[in-house]
């Protein structure tokens, strides 16, 4: 009885990419993860610290894969501080991926929310797709992965728009404002988004207003990663198994929770600020 994906596989950190002062990408070799689909995630075990979900931000040749971490809490700080040759446990890949739709595509991302969106963009650009990517953020120092986005979208009919709340980078304002102005002028087949939940909620509302389908990557506290513990529930769904990618229909069903509340480690409802 082979156990392929639900037991931690020990991998070595092969390379570390400095994305910003607080964000790094860690590259490792793992056959299963290198074949993951955009939007899927892994449970990353930092021995002696914790195990946390991370979106796969890179699936490569030679069985390489990677994720992008911002140091926020104890576990993400431990990941951020990892050195080459340090070891990690990996379970997965898990979850429902994005469904690529080759057409006029809009991508709205913020911060490390770009992590699962870029592998998707890379797949979309392999076939003809026109991509409008809007990258939002608070201030210049918080932007990450923008160079990779530029490199990905260099060759086809694509546009990158940067918005920052304080005007220190790109257009001053919110990504969702730009999004709305584009939708007023241009037909879009599908919107993909990932970032802070309040942004996702706004992106969803605007998408609904213009009747454009959307796929959004959501985040909740995860423990089992395989859909049995219920820690990551949102409405009647489990983010780890039924998500993390939610389409318009599922988002509509969870609208009374989206951007409003989540559960803490005990399962207690806590408001999203």
């Amino acid at each position: 009885m082979p156990i392929a994906s639900n037991k931690p596989r020990i991998v070595q950190v092969l390379d570390i990419k400095e994305e910003s002062e607080t964000v790094r990408s860690l590259i490792f070799r793992d056959d299963l993860c290198s074949k993951a689909k955009p939007g899927q995630f892994v449970m990353v075990w930092i021995p002696g610290v914790d195990e946390i979900p991370m979106s796969i931000s890179m699936m490569g040749d030679q069985s390489l894969a990677g994720f992008t971490v911002r140091k926020v809490g104890e576990a993400s700080k431990a990941l951020f501080d990892m050195k080459v040759k340090n070891i990690l446990g990996i379970r997965g890949p898990y979850g429902m991926p994005f469904t690529p739709i080759f057409g006029d595509v809009m991508i709205v991302g913020a911060g490390t929310g770009l992590a699962p969106l870029l592998p998707l963009a890379e797949i979309l650009t392999q076939k003809f797709a026109s991509i409008n990517i809007i990258i939002g953020g608070k201030t210049l120092s918080e932007f990450v992965l923008v160079d990779r986005a530029r490199k990905t979208l260099l060759k086809n009919n694509s546009e990158i728009i940067i918005t920052s709340e304080d005007g220190s980078y790109g257009i001053k304002g919110l990504a969702t404002d730009v999004m709305e102005s584009i939708l007023k002028k241009k037909y879009i087949d599908i919107i993909y988004t990932c970032g802070p939940e309040l942004m996702i909620k706004k992106v969803f509302e605007i998408a609904q207003k213009f009747s454009v389908p959307i796929q959004a990557s959501l985040e909740r506290i995860m423990k089992c990663g395989i859909g049995i513990c219920g820690s990551c529930c949102i409405g009647r769904y489990r983010v780890c198994k039924d998500g993390p990618i939610f389409d318009s229909k599922k988002l509509e069903e969870i609208i009374d929770e989206l951007g409003l509340f989540r559960r803490d480690h005990s399962g207690m409802v806590t408001m999203i600020e």
Binding site: I3, G89, C233, R236, D264, S266, G267
Partner: protein, 305 residues
């Protein structure tokens, strides 16, 4: 041939199907529990609720091993007051909801039940068998005086059916079963997970943050089945079989051993949410093949040999 009757009744609690969602799966979210009910479960049991909020253990809290899963979630739960709030604002009238409770002291159980009594909760399940939290669970199950005192105290507080979930991590589960019956339990859930562990050989570390956890899944099925079989010979109250049931053949074995109903937990990890519907269909087909009109007709049949 008419469709076999799968409905059962335990101490006045009527279920359309003998399949229940085991405790610990899917947390306390009523919407998620309702979804399971809609996929074919006759009843759903909440995650075990305690007197106060518990954050549970750090991750890893789950790891797959050959033949099953190990978990040490650590009885994380929002505490009875929060759960009461969630239940109060949820529509549960039509939901066959059983609330699982754990505690360290008898008064914790009785106070929790007093609080829940006015809600449309259908029954309670006492978790006196969690294998991985010190001071709770299996440690209670090993103390026969405490088990007796606890069940009697709880029965004095409620007229709703009381399920008692037993542990195999004890010297003699049959003795505990008899004791629980004599103290007034309406049904016995047999069994909880078995104390177990996994070590990662690369790092040399135990994988679970808590080191020790509970084993569930196919690996424990023969043990759970034996427990049901032995207990059936010694008690009169209904037994709810639990442990490693992932397909209809497993379910039938438990009925033949003496289970009136069965609970499914880890089966969802193997088969997904359709596990209830698949097992239900398998049971119906089996009963038709055997010329039985009702699932009740096969309960304990293996004891005739």
């Amino acid at each position: 041939m008419q469709v076999p009757d799968l409905s059962i009744e335990i101490s006045g609690f009527k279920m359309k199907s003998p399949l229940m969602l085991a405790s610990g799966i899917f947390g306390t979210s009523i919407k998620l529990l309702r979804r399971i009910f809609e996929t074919g479960a006759g009843a759903v049991v909440t995650k075990s609720i305690g007197y106060v909020k518990r954050m549970g253990y750090n991750n890893p809290t789950l790891v797959e091993v050959y033949g099953g899963y190990l978990n040490a979630i650590g009885l994380s739960n929002p505490g009875i007051k929060e759960v009461y709030k969630e239940l109060s604002r949820s529509k549960i009238n039509d939901l066959p909801l059983i609330v699982s409770l754990f505690g360290a002291e008898t008064y914790e159980f009785t106070e929790m039940i007093s609080l829940l009594e006015d809600l449309k909760v259908k029954a309670y399940e006492l978790n006196i068998s969690c294998p991985h939290v010190e001071g709770f669970g299996a440690e209670v199950c090993q103390n026969s005086d405490l088990v007796k005192q606890l069940i009697m105290a709880v029965k004095a507080k409620t007229r709703k059916p009381l399920f008692v979930k037993l542990s195999q991590n004890t010297t003699d589960i049959v003795q505990i079963a008899k004791l629980a019956e004599n103290a007034g339990a309406d049904a016995l859930t047999v069994v909880n997970t078995l104390k177990a562990m996994a070590i990662d050989i690369e790092t040399g570390r135990p994988i679970l943050a808590n080191k020790i956890g509970g084993l569930s899944g196919p690996a424990i099925k023969p043990i759970a089945l034996r427990c049901v079989y032995e207990i059936y010979q010694n008690v009169e109250i209904p037994i709810v079989g639990c442990g490693g049931i992932i397909n209809w053949q497993d379910a039938i074995e438990f009925f033949l051993a003496g289970a009136t109903a069965i609970q499914i937990g880890t089966g969802i990890a193997y088969e997904g949410l359709s596990v209830f519907e698949k097992i239900k269909q398998g049971i119906k087909d089996y009963l038709i093949l055997k010329g039985k009109r009702s699932v009740k007709e096969i309960v304990g049949f293996a004891h005739s040999f």
